[in-house]
Amino acid sequence: MSSKYQPVIGLEVHAVLETRSKMFCACPVVDSTVGEPNIAVCPVCAGMPGMLPVINQAAVEYALRVALALNCTINLTSIFARKSYFYPDLPKGFQISQYEQPLAQNGWLTIDTAEGEQRIAIRRVHIEEDTGKLTHVERDGERYSLVDLNRSGVPLLEIVTEPELHSVEAVRNCAYALRSILRYVGVNSGNLEKGLMRIEPNISIRPVGSTEFGTRAEIKNLNSFRSLERATTYELARQEQLVEAGGAVVQQTLGWDDARGTTQAQRSKEVAEDYRYFPEPDLPPLVVEKAWVEKIRKGLPELPQARRERFISKYGLKAYDANVIVAEREVADFYEAAVAAAKTADAKLIANWLTGPLFGLMNEAGVEVGDLRFGAKQLAALCDQVAADKVNAAGAREVLGVLFAEGGSPASIVKARGLQQISDSGQLAAWVGEVIEAHPKQAADFLAGNAPLLNFLFGQVMQKAGGKANPAAVRDELQAQLSKLGK
């Protein structure tokens, strides 16, 4: 994007509320990307004649958790509405959603941007039901579609932000922040590939300095954060080119083609579909008790933003490290448990070992905190060994490798592998003396001003010590003996 135009982007996020049963019937919520089709279906979610919806209270509670975490105003009375359109994945011919009076509105969340923190307004949060899934088949020259209703009636939360995102980075950070909140409050595992969270950016551009909105296009079918970024970048460039060439952006829904890296028109909003919304007569208005809302509010965990601030002030972490650690509740919990268990290691040291070597191993293996073969206590114990100079960094990495692969206790791994750090001054002085004696020329050259030779001599000492010598002590001893030699 050139500096001539400002991107104006809002997000519409659909998140599955991962309750036990569906929104309006007792069918279980199952992973619709694996397993048999149509195993979690009943007359209600199949839209059979005479069937009626009944509200799943757990889904309302989940929705309230998110709405409260997003600082929304809760409408104690909200209305379900029918959104009508024909499609084979929509059994009733209408979707039960919320329209004029949503569950919650007027909230906000904080995100990081290049210009610092930004507060993004949340327009509304409402509950609706998911549709089924169609699979289009072409076999032996015959084309047909298969309908799977496992997903039909699964509770969905729709979160709509105001169009206040002005860069691809802000879009990404906003999506991450929303995902993080959904995971923190325990309603959604944040898996985009499985469609548990679907992000649809609406994108427009306007000349820098203008306060009017340009015509927007909506992008669908984004099933990863990467495609969200790519599609947004692509669409911004496409709109700019179009406008620069004297054209106009058409209001439309675009589909992202991940393989080709382009957006394509799905349907034009010029012939806008008329959903004929009206209040769902089968459901009385949804009334939530104020006391219940307050109970849910009190039960909310510390949210990522607050936790980040606390990590910075309490543990002295850098903003970047704090961000990385709080992004997932399990990681932050793991970190805090380690800090609590540590005896000599401080919080910063533990943060370094967590976000550095341990994240490295986890990323490489594609493993989450919950899958680790060792616990926070073991990480704390390892960092304690480091802090107490009982093992040096190289040794500690080796211990971490063993913990990661097999689990166990850091102390016994250190012992079993003979990784205890040698800090005995007599032993170190003897090794240093031997090295200087064996390399008189290098010692003399160093004293004559060739400073890098110190590293050579250091390396020789470490070699003698089998890598286990306390590196700081070795350096000190080398300096001491060399300076004595130079006098």
Partner: protein, 491 residues
């Protein structure tokens, strides 16, 4: 006692069953014989469940015999009583066509709560009765499976949409039947067939398993020979259902008159129900009925429901709007009629085009239009506002009176085809019954005499929300001193 078994009311039949004087198999067989004899002509039933009915009857007899042997044990309230069920109510294993081609071969796997509660109480389902397609109509002429004839005069309609149930009970092809009332579909056919028809308070009887027409208006009701029989059915099928979010958890308790005297009962007579277009004979019959209630001790006072004239237009926006969404599920994808096409939209169009009849199509179009962007506020939004005024009219009047008495329909049963060319004329049939549905209040129709042609005249009574029992009690008192309800057509 055989030969006259079909003449017993439900209450009498149950007494006979309990006393061991008759068996459920005999009773059921008597009705099946009546059905076999008269249904080919009357077309009251669309489906007769002879085999399963006789099985259920035999099981009921066994249970009675066992109870008699062991001298005691509580028996289900309606054990062995045959009933007929309107075809818009689901009964597992029986077709539920709703009078429509689009559901010609549809057999639900589930049973409506109202029917299930009756089954749990021991009833024997004789079969499914004819209805205007998806309950849209006032004559059963809109059924895809042919009109039902009025047993009082077979050239006339039985009313609708629960015309099949009404004809079945009037013709003694069932002791009692379930109907549904969205705009008068129980009360108007009850009037045309000389029956006691109860439209229950909205929220009193579960709609689960009732194929929806206008969800905020639909109620399950009863067509019976007298108030006592209707009460037996209501008692069993009413009450909160966790599967219908619009049923009420606790029914407010209302005092009810007991015995013969109606002393202290205040009856409102709304002037808006005695208007041009109401036949003189019907008006006379209704006024005579009110006089009879006064003889019993009630006091009749004139009242006004000023927004009555708007009920018809309001109803014909709200009901079709809800119907347009309710009927969207009939798309040929999962069940019902499918006209296979290569193109999806074409399949939807052809399936629905072939499956729905003209009145249903008309209402889907009216409803879709009323809900369209740009028209919503002027039609649906406005109708909801006026609906609130109509409801308030009733609230106000019920502060002053205990119930309202009025005609059920502008005329007695009309000839088949009389309103064939003009849907508006047909819509006017419901002008006296629609307001109760818009307000959600209960209504009851009793036979209050016959016109010069021997056709029954209906007296309608409306009560406050959840005053269903009060209406039944007043009707019962009325029926103690009159015998209109005991008349039966000669078949």
């Amino acid at each position: 006692m055989s030969g006259g078994l079909h003449e017993l009311s439900a209450k009498q039949a149950l007494a006979g069953l309990r006393a061991g004087k008759i068996s459920s198999v005999e009773l059921t067989r008597a009705y099946l014989e009546r059905i076999e004899q008269h249904n080919p002509r009357l077309n009251a039933y669309l489906y007769v469940a002879a085999e399963s009915a006789l099985q259920a009857a035999a099981a009921a007899d066994k249970q009675y015999a066992k109870a008699r042997r062991s001298k005691g044990g509580k028996l289900p309230a309606l054990l062995g009583l045959p009933i007929a069920v309107k075809d818009v109510l689901a009964v597992a294993g029986m077709p539920a066509t709703c009078g429509s081609r689009i559901l010609e071969n549809f057999v639900p796997s589930y049973t409506a709560t109202s029917v299930q509660r009756l089954l749990d109480a021991g009833v024997v389902v004789l079969g499914k009765t004819n209805t205007d397609e998806f309950a849209m109509g006032s004559s059963t002429e809109n059924s895809a499976y042919g009109v039902t004839l009025n047993p009082w005069d077979e050239t006339r309609v039985p009313g609708g949409s629960s015309g099949g149930s009404a004809a079945a009970v009037a013709g003694r092809l069932a002791p009692v039947a379930l109907g549904t009332d969205t705009g008068g579909s129980v009360r108007q056919p009850a009037a045309f067939c000389g029956l006691t028809g109860l439209k229950t308070t909205y929220g009193r009887v579960s709609r689960y398993g009732l194929v929806a027409f206008g969800s905020s208006l639909d109620t399950v009701g009863v067509l019976a020979r007298d108030a006592a029989d209707a009460g037996l059915i209501l008692k069993v099928m009413g009450g909160y259902d966790p599967q219908d979010a619009t049923t009420v958890e606790k029914t407010p308790k209302l005092e009810k008159p007991s015995g013969k005297s109606l002393k202290g009962l205040r009856i409102g007579v709304p002037k808006e129900y005695f208007i041009e277009g109401l036949s003189a004979e019907v008006e006379n019959g209704v006024r005579e009925g009110i006089r009879q209630l006064e003889v019993l001790g009630a006091k009749a006072v004139p009242v006004s429901l000023p927004h009555t004239e708007y009920a018809l237009p309001v109803y014909y926006i709200i009901a079709p709007a809800e119907a347009s969404a309710n009927l969207a599920r009939f798309d040929g994808v999962r069940y019902g009629l499918r006209v296979a096409q290569d193109d999806l939209i074409e399949m939807f169009k052809r399936s629905r085009g072939a499956g729905f009849g003209p009145e249903v199509k008309r209402r889907i179009m009216i409803g879709s239009y009323a809900l369209s962007a740009g028209y919503y506020d002027a039609y649906y939004g406005q109708a909801q506002k006026v609906r609130a005024l109509i409801r308030r009219d009733f609230d106000n009047v019920f502060k002053k009176v205990d119930l309202i008495a009025a005609p059920s329909a502008p005329s007695t049963a009309f000839r088949i085809g009389a309103h064939g060319n003009d849907p508006l004329e047909m819509y006017l049939e419901d002008v006296f019954t629609l307001p109760a549905n818009l307000a959600g209040v209960p209504g009851l129709c009793v036979c209050a005499g016959f016109d010069g042609q021997g056709l029954p005249i209906g007296l309608q009574m409306l009560g406050p929300h959840f005053a269903d029992e009060r209406l039944l009690a007043v009707a019962a008192a009325y029926q103690k001193v009159t015998d209109w309800h005991k008349q039966a057509p000669a078949l």
